[in-house]
Amino acid sequence: MDRAMVRFIRYRLLRAGITLLLFQTLLFLMLQAMPGDFVSTLIGLPPPLRRGLRAVMGLNDPLWQQYLRWMRDFFTGHLGTTFRFPHQSVGRILWSLAPRTLFLFLPASVLSIGLGYGLGRYLGGRRRPWDGASLTLTGGAIVAATSFPPWVAFLLVQIFALRLGWFPAENVLRTSRWVGVAVPADTVILWLLGTGALMAGSFYLLGHVTRWHQRRTCLRRVGAIALIGGAVLAWYLSGWGLLALDLLWHLALPLTTVVLLSFGEPMLLMRLATLQVADEDFVRAARAKGLPPQVVRDRHMARLALVPVLARFLIQLPFVMLGSLVVELAFFWKGIGRELLIAIDAHDVPVVMGIFSVVGTLMLLAHVLLDVLHAWLDPRVRTAIAPGMQR
C-alpha cells in the first residue's frame, strides 16, 4: 500500500462524503416537490385533526428546520419515525431487516462478477475465433433467457424445489429447526457473512504470499484445503453448524436466481475487454518472453481487462440490488424488499425515503470500493487525479 494509494483513498472518501451530503439534500428536495404531504393522503380526517397532525409531525415548520431535522435523522441513523408504528425509528426497522437482504445481495454480487470474470476471461482468451463465437452465442442466449426475475425464480423453484425436492421453495429458514434456539437467525447470518469475508481475504493473502514460491501450486492447494477445513471445523465446534447449514440451504435457490440474472453482463463485457487487451503491445511482449498462454491470459490480460468490467458493474449494482429485492419477494423472505413494498402501499413516506437513503448510501460506498479496487488494479489511476504531480 504505497503513499499514492493512501492519498487516493483519502481523496476518494472526501469526495464521497460531499456527494453523500448532496444526495441527501436532493432526496429532501424531491420529497418537498411532491404534491401534498402524508396527511393529505389520509382520507376522512376532520380538518382540526389534520392541522394537529401536521403540527405534531413538524410539517408546518419552516423549510430550513425541516431540512436540518432531515439531515440529523439521516446521520444519526435514526432516519425518521415510521408513520405506521409511532415511536419506531425507520433506522431500527431497516437495521433489523438488513442482514437477510445482505445475506442475499452480497454473495450474489461477488459471485456474479466472479463468474462473469472467469467465464469472460476464458471466452476472450481463446485464440481460435470459431470456438469463441459458439460459446458466446450460448452465453448470449443464457443472458437473454434469464433476464426476467420472476420467470427465473419460478423456473428454479419448479425444477429444483417442487419436482426434485433438493432445495426449499421459500423462506429463510425452517422454523422447526429453530424452535427453542437461543441465538437469533440474524446473528448467525452475520457470522456467516463474516466467515465469507475472512475466507476471501485469506485466499488472497495466500496467493500473494506464495507469488514467487517454487512449489506454489502445491502450497496453494494445501492452504486452501486447510482454510476451508478450518472454517468448517470452527462452525462445527461452535454448535451452530446445523443452523448455518439450514440457512445456506435456503439461500441456494434465491442466490442462484440473482446470480443467473446478473452474471451475463460482466461475462460478455469481460470477454470483449479481454479481446481488446489482446492487441496490446505488452501482451505481445509477454508471449515473446515465452510465458505459457494461460499465464499471459490470466496475469497480463485479465487484470487490465477487468477494469472496464468493474466500472460497468458499478452501474449494474443498483439493478442487482433491485433483483435481490424482487427475488426476496418471490421467496417470501422478510427483507428490505418486502418492507419497501409494504411501505409504499401504506404511503409510509419515512420508511420509503429511509430505504432510498440507505440504498443510495450503499451504492456510494460501493462506488468508493470499486474506485479503490480500480486504483489497486491499475497503479496509473493512483496518480491520475493530479497529473502534474508525479516525479
Binding site: 469526495r15 493530479a386 502534474g388 504531480m389
Partner: protein, 328 residues
C-alpha cells in the same frame, strides 16, 4: 532593412496545472516564453527542437490554434502590420486566408469521410471564393501542382485509398489552395518513408518558389532543416537559444545545446566517426522554471554566473548569428 512578413515579439504560452478540488492553479507549464523572431517574405525558417521544446506550441500559436498568454504576432497584411495575437474570433476567418498549416500525421489530418475534392475545396467554401465550377477548376489545378496526376483520378478518392505520401500531398494542396502568404508546416515528413520524404520536401520547395509562400518549418531533424530552410532557430524548453543561417549554424554552432544536438545526430557514413558531446539528464517539463538560463542544469560549461543571472537574451554575434548564452 527589408520588409518582414512575420514578426514575433515576446510571445508566451503558459498552461495551468490544476491542483486540488477548488483551488486556482498556482503552477504553470511555461511551454513557450518570451519568443522573438522574424521571417522575411519568401523565406523558410526552420524551427528545430526536441519534444518538449515548445516548437509545436509555437506553430499552433502562429496559426491561432492556441491563444497566446502574452506577446505579439505581427503579420504584414496589405502593407500594414496586424497583431494576430489580439484578433477576436470573428476576425480570425479573414486571417486564415493568409495563414495555413500542414500537420505531421497524414493519417489523422484528413477527414476520412471527405473525398479529396471536398478536402481541398473546403477552404474555398469556407472563405466564400468562387462558385462550384471555379472550385473544381482550382482543385484540379492544385492536385496537378502537388503531383497527383491525373487530377480526375484522385479527386473522388477517400483518404484510406491513398498512401501516406499521397495524403500529405493532399494536405499541402489544401493548405495552398487559397494562396496563403504564410504556411506553418509541423514536421510534415517525419511520418513518411524516406523515399517519399525527399519528394515531398522537393515539392514544398518548388511550391515555395513558384507561389512565393513563406514557411515556418518545424522539425526535430536537423538534416531535414538543412535541406529545406535558409535560416534555422533552435529551441530549448520554450526559448530560442540560437538562430542563424543554416549552413552557418551547422558549421559554427555556438550554443552548447546546439553543439550537443548536432553532435548527437547519426551520420549515414560508416567511415566518419563523430564525437558526441556529453550532456547529462533529459529534457524536463518546464513547470515554474526558475528565471536563470533554462539549460543550466544540463549544460557542460555552465558557471556560477549562469546560475545567478536571468536567462540570457538573444544577441547578435555577427552576421545575423544570434545566441542566448553568457559564455560565448
Amino acid at each position: 532593412m527589408s520588409e518582414v512578413l512575420v514578426r514575433v515579439e515576446g510571445l508566451s504560452k503558459f498552461f495551468p496545472l490544476t491542483r486540488g478540488l477548488f483551488r486556482e492553479s498556482r503552477d504553470f507549464i511555461h511551454a513557450v516564453e518570451d519568443l522573438n523572431f522574424m521571417i522575411a517574405p519568401g523565406e523558410s525558417l526552420g524551427l528545430v527542437g526536441e519534444s518538449g521544446s515548445g516548437k509545436t506550441t509555437t506553430g499552433k500559436l502562429l496559426v491561432r490554434l492556441l491563444d497566446p498568454t502574452a506577446g505579439h504576432i505581427y503579420l504584414r497584411t496589405d502593407g500594414r502590420e496586424v497583431d494576430i495575437a489580439t484578433l477576436r474570433k470573428k476576425e480570425l476567418k479573414a486571417f486564415r486566408r493568409q495563414v495555413q498549416m500542414i500537420f505531421q500525421d497524414p493519417y489523422e489530418s484528413l477527414n476520412p469521410r471527405l473525398t479529396v475534392f471536398d478536402t481541398v475545396a473546403e477552404p474555398l467554401v469556407v472563405q466564400g471564393i468562387g462558385n462550384v465550377l471555379d472550385r473544381e477548376e482550382r482543385v484540379a489545378e492544385m492536385l496537378a501542382m502537388v503531383g497527383l496526376t491525373p487530377p480526375s483520378s484522385f479527386m473522388f478518392r477517400f483518404p484510406h485509398e491513398l498512401s501516406g505520401g499521397q495524403r500529405q500531398r493532399v494536405a499541402i494542396a489544401r493548405a495552398l489552395v487559397i494562396n496563403p502568404t504564410f504556411v506553418v508546416a509541423d514536421e510534415p515528413t517525419s511520418m513518411l518513408d524516406v523515399s517519399i520524404r525527399t519528394s515531398i520536401m522537393y515539392l514544398m520547395q518548388e511550391l515555395a518558389q513558384r507561389l512565393g509562400v513563406t514557411y515556418l518549418y518545424i522539425t526535430h531533424d536537423l538534416a531535414v532543416a538543412r535541406y529545406m530552410c535558409q535560416r534555422v532557430a533552435v529551441m530549448y524548453l520554450g526559448k530560442i537559444v540560437e538562430q542563424a543561417e543554416t549552413e552557418e549554424l551547422l558549421q559554427h554552432p555556438l550554443h552548447p545545446y546546439t553543439r550537443a544536438l548536432i553532435s548527437a545526430v547519426p551520420i549515414p557514413d560508416p567511415r566518419i566517426k563523430r564525437q558526441p558531446m556529453e550532456i547529462k539528464g533529459s529534457i524536463p517539463t518546464p513547470i515554474n522554471p526558475p528565471p536563470r538560463c533554462r539549460f543550466y542544469d544540463r549544460c557542460p560549461i555552465a558557471t556560477g554566473f549562469c546560475e545567478e543571472n536571468p536567462h540570457p537574451p538573444l544577441e547578435d554575434k555577427g552576421g545575423g548569428h544570434y545566441v542566448a548564452c553568457y559564455l560565448v
